[in-house]
């Protein structure tokens, strides 16, 4: 707890992020946000945050603790520093599976909690299932997915729905850019899974590769449940880099097959799932991870922006595991909302919605957040494995 308090003081330097006129000042300020001393105003009612995210041990067997821990860490900091408008923030997390019929139930339960803002969900399926009802209810939502259909111009988009992950096609472009600009690749191999995720990533990469004057030398797609990639990998024999927009399972399979075909030293750039903790288990042999790179939202374990390392260490101390980018993003989401409330001295849904809409240059742990098309984050990080942990290679701030 001591470290938490210290952190909240340390993180205190920076403030609001309203009109953008002091955005430049914000950017030079520390990561980790919020106000120093609670501004002197009185909210009529406390800010109520409700998360539609499952915690481990509940109904969703795939729940990871990161998201809710990130939220609770931020709320604890703020409340220990006096809360918002004279009240501590109130928080509930509602069990919300990533897939299945119970998603809408969970949303209904969450709305009954009378939230001023909803945080989550963390799966595309869930956010698509919730979009219409959220729009009708008029409660702002910050979801942690890259689902393009709920972006501002998406078919399920709503002025109430914001996402705090960078867009998938932007991240896919980063993979191509890194390959050409940093690795000097001219002949590029592409692997991707035949899903919306894989196909849109592949198309974005095609465009980027062409713009950069490199060439797609081989391209192979496969089903999400592919059991063998020998043919696809053999086609990668003469490429400089393999860009792989597959599922964690197929990326793992590709890593194994590349190694078996003697192509382990061809750089292999995968999507964000490479950063999941279970990815190393899938590959099964740590030495095979050496040639693997991934485009992740951020890498709190290795980020020299001010305050990030302190946050990372505090998180590890408090919760005992490496925070994923999701933990950082949800931590940031709370601080974004708190900053909006402090600025407007009001905590109603419409105020928060407006604050998110005009968000510009909010410095967080994972990224500097600005709204564009109801997507709040626009940066990605290329990481690689070193002794089993993720090392940041390069950060990109202009991801879609």
């Amino acid at each position: 707890m001591g470290s938490l308090l210290a952190l909240s003081l340390l993180a205190a330097a920076c403030g609001d992020d309203d009109d953008g006129d002091d955005a430049a000042a914000d950017e030079s300020a520390a990561g980790g946000t919020t106000t120093t001393t609670a501004p002197d105003y009185e909210l009529e009612e406390p800010l109520r945050i409700v998360a539609v995210i499952s915690e481990p041990g509940g109904s969703d067997p795939n729940a990871v603790p990161d998201y809710v821990d990130g939220i609770e860490m931020a709320i604890a900091e703020i409340n220990e520093a006096g809360g918002l408008g004279g009240h501590p923030i109130e928080f509930e997390a509602v069990e919300t599976p990533a897939v299945g019929d119970e998603i809408t139930n969970s949303l209904n339960l969450a709305l009954e909690e009378d939230p001023d803002v909803l945080l989550g969900p963390v799966s595309s399926t869930a956010v698509l299932a919730m979009a219409e009802r959220v729009d009708a209810a008029g409660v702002p939502m910050i979801h942690n997915t890259t689902e393009p259909k709920v972006a501002g111009d998406g078919e399920a988009g709503s002025p109430w729905i914001f996402g705090n992950r960078p867009p998938n096609d932007g991240a896919a472009r980063i993979a191509a850019r890194y390959a050409v600009e940093e690795l000097g690749a001219e002949e590029i191999g592409q692997l991707y899974v035949n899903t919306a995720f894989g196909q849109s990533g592949n198309e974005a990469q095609d465009a980027e590769i062409e713009e950069l004057g490199a060439e797609v030398a081989a391209e192979r797609s496969f089903e999400f449940n592919a059991t063998d990639l020998t043919e696809a990998v053999l086609a990668m024999e003469d490429v400089d880099v393999v860009l792989d927009w597959g599922t964690p399972a197929t990326v793992g399979l590709a890593v194994n097959t590349l190694a078996q075909q003697g192509l382990a030293d061809v750089p292999h750039i995968g999507p964000g799932s490479v950063g999941f903790s279970f990815f190393a288990d899938i590959v099964g042999d740590e030495s095979l991870l050496e040639g693997v790179l991934g485009v992740v939202d951020c890498n709190p374990a290795d980020d020299d922006r001010e305050g990030v390392e302190a946050w990372h260490d505090a998180f590890v101390e408090e919760y005992g595991y490496e925070p994923s980018y999701g933990a950082a993003q949800m931590y940031d989401a709370v601080h974004i909302v708190a900053a909006i409330v402090n600025e407007a001295q009001a905590a109603d849904p419409e105020t928060i919605r407006q604050g998110l809409e005009s968000l510009d240059g909010h410095e967080g742990i994972c990224a500097i957040y600005s709204n564009e098309n109801n997507v709040l984050q626009h940066s990605s990080v290329v990481v690689r494995f070193e002794d089993g942990s993720l090392v940041t290679e390069k950060t990109y701030d202009d991801v879609g």
């Binding site: 449940n225 592919a226 059991t227 399972a249 078996q260 288990d281």
Partner: protein, 291 residues
């Protein structure tokens, strides 16, 4: 040449896995007339049980595999008891839907038990490869082919050299007459479901080390095994094995030499062609045409 060898061995190995699954289909179909659509999820469950036995119980790998095969034989019997026996006299459609129901239950149980995050089952040979005519062949693929060959030979003996096998074939030939010969139909169907469950687990532990294990592990193999069964005319072990190898090879060589974009489709094109031209299957005789 290396490319051909590589694709060929991969095709045979994939075909071998499809064959093991398809033999499960064949056994149950012969003894009961039913297509058991839970077969694919039994493959998945087998892999997960092996993972559980190897990691949670810390059994040596072969022990874990044995646990998986034994457990799945039991699960096969349970499916027979709960999803087949109570409705065996109903229309074939009801029974097939019931096996689909069993498949969904198994899937739900796996997700509740292990989650949907991908994991891994170690293979006894890791990622070792051998060079054959310049091609790098994963040893696991050779293991798959070898184990399948032994398994096919054993099943052939079982079918043709034991009373059990003859009884299964008699049931397939004429159910009523078989019953009148005193063949215990209920016991036969339990045994075949059990045996097919064990075969699924075998397919699961063979294929799992070559890739990440997710709840979808068995789905592809089941589809291809089904196509293989149709190709083989659902009649004989030989037909099914030939059908499965044809599917594995068509998939790999078609993907390698025609167009990789349709690799997943070639097997089904082949299956449709065979249905159109030889409805009794590649090796089927006209006696078997009644499927």
């Amino acid at each position: 040449m290396e490319r051909f060898v590589s694709l060929f061995v991969t095709g045979v190995a994939q075909g071998a896995v499809f064959a093991v699954v398809a033999l499960g289909f064949l056994l149950i179909h012969k003894a009961t007339g039913v297509i058991n659509f839970a077969q694919g999820d039994l493959v998945t469950l087998g892999a997960y049980i092996a993972i559980w036995a190897a990691t949670d119980l810390e059994l040596p790998l072969l022990g874990a595999y044995a646990v998986a095969v034994a457990a799945l034989a039991a699960v096969g019997v349970l499916i027979e008891r709960f999803a087949y026996a109570p409705i065996r006299d109903r229309s074939i459609h009801v029974v097939v839907i019931s096996t689909l129901g069993a498949a969904l239950v198994i899937r739900a149980v796996i997700v509740l038990w292990r989650g949907t995050s991908p994991t891994r089952l170690r293979g006894p040979l890791g990622f070792e490869v051998v060079e054959v005519l310049g091609a790098r062949i994963p040893k696991q693929n050779l293991l798959i082919i070898g184990v399948t060959a032994v398994c096919v030979a054993a099943l052939w003996l079982l079918f043709h050299r034991t009373q059990f096998g003859r009884q299964v074939r008699a049931l397939a030939s004429d159910r009523m007459a078989a019953q009148m010969q005193g063949i215990r139909v209920a016991r036969m169907s339990m045994l075949t479901f059990g045996l097919a469950g064990g075969l699924s687990a075998l397919a699961g532990v063979l294929i799992a080390p070559t890739r990440a294990v997710t709840v979808d592990l068995g789905f592809g193999p089941m589809l291809y095994a089904f196509a293989a069964s149709i190709l083989g005319g659902m009649g004989s072990i030989g037909g099914v094995v030939v059908g499965a190898l044809a599917i594995g090879l068509v998939q790999q060589l078609g993907g390698g030499y025609l167009s990789p974009d349709y690799a997943e489709v070639y097997p089904f094109v082949l299956m449709l062609l065979v249905i159109a031209l030889r409805p009794q299957g590649v090796l089927g005789s006209e006696v078997r045409a009644r499927l």
